[in-house]
């Protein structure tokens, strides 16, 4: 795995230290975005660049954070676009100021139009779609999608994608990530209320653990799939409690753009050539779970 004290960064030749700002729509404490952040920071360490990270789910405040980051004149800007309209003006401002921008995660469609150099990652919708297809293949017909943060666009997109991938409507169930024990109750209640449910899609590893227990408690035979991996999730996959985990490989979504922007500064490279770089989705299944588990424990998967 990546070695923090890699020598690549120490002999950074170009003028001054490279600084790269990352501003996402992830609220503080969000497990997915935390891994993205870890990836970016590790890349910074590896390459001898300073990476700053900020995140706010509200488009107004996200764009303010972008403006603030731009005011510090970084060598590169990385932005996620859950709500492309919301950050459009700020991104264009950054581009106008001559700061290279890379978009990550969602916003693939608008990325180039806004003046970004490339897009790393893959939209939540597409990831959801892939998950839906895979669930369909496993025989699920009636699936619920557990939203752990009310009104979060990214999560809604995943569920929408899942419905389209599955080819039949998916009911959204709302729970609160701040109360996992009760989230488990709500999932259990849902399964009790409708025993015909045969698939559960969770969007967070913590919720996945709760959901797996809820399925057992409710005596349901629903198959469980989740987004994102964690140590517990890999264990559950190995045990067969979880069918698969969609891995958008958030670590790469954080790591790669930092590499690209550093390369551009040092070497003038423009990776991607105007085409997006897909970071996933990878699927973690019984076959590769053991291997992924070690990374997940370090917060890099």
């Amino acid at each position: 795995s990546a070695n923090g004290s890699s020598a690549t960064g120490s002999d950074a030749a170009s003028a001054g230290k490279t600084t790269i700002a990352m501003v996402t729509h992830g609220n503080p404490g969000d497990a997915f975005w935390d891994v993205v952040k870890s990836g970016a920071e590790q890349a910074g360490k590896d390459l001898g660049a300073t990476v700053t990270y900020q995140g706010d789910g509200d488009p107004v405040r996200q764009s303010q954070l972008i403006d603030s980051a731009v005011a510090t004149h970084p060598d590169g800007l990385i932005v996620s676009m859950a709500n492309p309209d919301g950050v459009k003006a700020s991104i264009e401002k950054a581009v106008a100021a001559g700061i290279p921008v890379i978009t990550i995660n969602s916003g693939l469609e608008e990325s180039l139009a806004f003046g970004a150099q490339t897009h790393v990652g893959q939209s939540e919708y597409a990831a959801g779609q892939a998950a839906g297809k895979r669930l369909a293949k496993a025989g699920a017909t009636k699936v619920i999608c557990v939203i752990h943060e009310a009104g979060n666009t990214g999560l809604e997109d995943r569920c929408r994608g899942a419905a389209d991938g599955l080819g039949s409507p998916v009911a959204n169930v709302q729970v609160d990530i701040a109360n996992l024990a009760d989230a488990q109750n709500t999932i259990k209640s849902t399964l009790l209320a409708d025993p015909t449910i045969d698939g559960v899609l969770s969007l967070n590893p913590g919720i996945a653990v709760a959901a797996s227990q809820a399925i057992t408690d409710a005596g349901s035979h629903a198959q469980l799939a989740t987004f994102d991996v964690s140590k517990d999730v890999t264990t559950l996959i190995e045990a067969g409690s979880i069918l698969f985990a969609v891995d958008q490989q958030p670590y790469s979504q954080g790591y790669l753009p930092v590499v690209f922007l550093t390369l551009q500064k040092r070497n003038g490279d423009v990776v991607g050539g105007g085409q997006p770089v897909f970071s996933g989705p990878g699927f973690v299944t019984k076959e590769n779970a053991a291997q992924v588990a070690t990374y997940a424990a370090h917060g890099t998967r």
């Binding site: 709302q174 209640s189 009790l192 517990d232």
Partner: protein
């Protein structure tokens, strides 16, 4: 009749009964053993905190940091066991000590500055919220602690906090037992001990209480420490149930506790309320929360429904109190 109406929990009792009937009749899963076990469990987690918060409110204070504190305690145990390899029981004690420290800090600030506890605990809430996230990230590299199931001694502690036992065909979670015990204990303390008498007195009229020798400061310390202790317990119950804990655990729950206490008949202004009322408030909340799911309503309406319920409950309580001729 008036005497009965004057009890704080009458409104909540009627409401709880109504909600119980409604969901029992309109959904098929609500009254099944598995269904009952679920909404009872849901209620119990809110209820334990609601009872503690109700005591605090009767004593004339608020605690907005209670929700975040449930997260803090869980995170401490998680970090201490998985990162530092501490013994589970030691970690439990460590977490309890930390919670009590925060409670004591709240109490100390409130009693020594006479600032409103709303502001003081709002600040603590923010601080805890920040620390939960930042410290967890710093020490573990992630924002959620997992792998607790593999910690030695985890299963022993789980008996106390995360187990369940069969009863009437239900799979009863141990937290329900804690809830009932603590509600009974709180009721007993409130109505049958000196401390309880003092809690009412301090919330009803702090100055008078001081004059007759009630140790106001000590009572407030006791109340904040009780809330902290309850936060620790709920943190443990959640942790050992799902064997994972997020850095964001508990945020936003502080309002729920206050809502349960108010629905249960506690006055925001102190000096009036009951532990049973708060427990009933939590029961209403838990039944509604799971009942909505059983009824397969669109969960997007959840918050609106809960808001309406709160409004209705306080209006009913108000009406009941007016009926009883109580103008305080």
């Amino acid at each position: 009749m008036t005497g009965l109406l004057r009890r704080p929990e009458v409104g909540a009792l009627v409401a709880a009964f109504g909600i119980f009937l409604y969901f029992s009749i309109s959904t098929s899963a609500f009254l099944t053993p598995a269904g009952v076990a679920t909404w009872l469990y849901s209620s119990s987690l809110f209820g334990i905190m609601a009872v503690a918060v109700a005591l605090l409110m009767i004593g004339g204070e608020f605690d907005l940091s209670a929700g975040a504190m449930t997260g803090t305690t869980g995170l401490i145990v998680g970090i201490a066991t998985t990162q530092w390899g501490l013994n589970v029981w030691l970690a439990l004690v460590l977490a309890l000590a930390a919670a009590l420290l925060v409670g004591a800090f709240n109490a100390w600030l409130v009693t020594s500055t006479a600032l409103p506890s709303f502001i003081v605990t709002l600040a603590t809430f923010f601080i805890l919220q920040g620390l939960n996230l930042a410290v967890t990230k710093l020490l573990t590299g992630t924002v959620a602690i997992q792998g607790l199931g593999a910690v030695t001694g985890f299963d022993q502690a789980r008996v106390l906090f995360g187990s369940s036992f069969p009863l009437f065909g239900m799979d009863v979670k141990i937290s329900i037992v804690w809830w009932i015990l603590l509600t009974a204990l709180a009721t007993w303390v409130l109505l049958r001990t000196r401390f309880g008498n003092w809690v009412f007195a301090v919330g009803g009229q702090a100055a008078s209480s001081r004059q007759v020798g009630v140790p106001v400061r000590r009572v407030k310390f006791g109340l904040f420490l009780t809330t902290a202790g309850a936060a620790w317990l709920v943190g443990m119950l959640q942790l050992f149930d799902v064997s994972t804990v997020q850095a964001t655990t508990g945020i936003g729950q502080e309002f729920v506790y206050i809502i349960c206490a108010v629905v249960g008949g506690c006055l925001l202004t102190g000096g009036f309320g009951s532990a049973i009322g708060a427990a009933l408030g939590a029961l209403i909340y838990g039944m509604a929360l799971q009942g909505i799911v059983f009824a397969q309503w669109d969960s997007n309406w959840l918050k609106a429904f809960l808001g309406g319920m709160l409004l209705l409950a306080v209006l009913v309580n108000l009406g009941v109190r007016r009926q009883a001729g109580d103008r305080s």
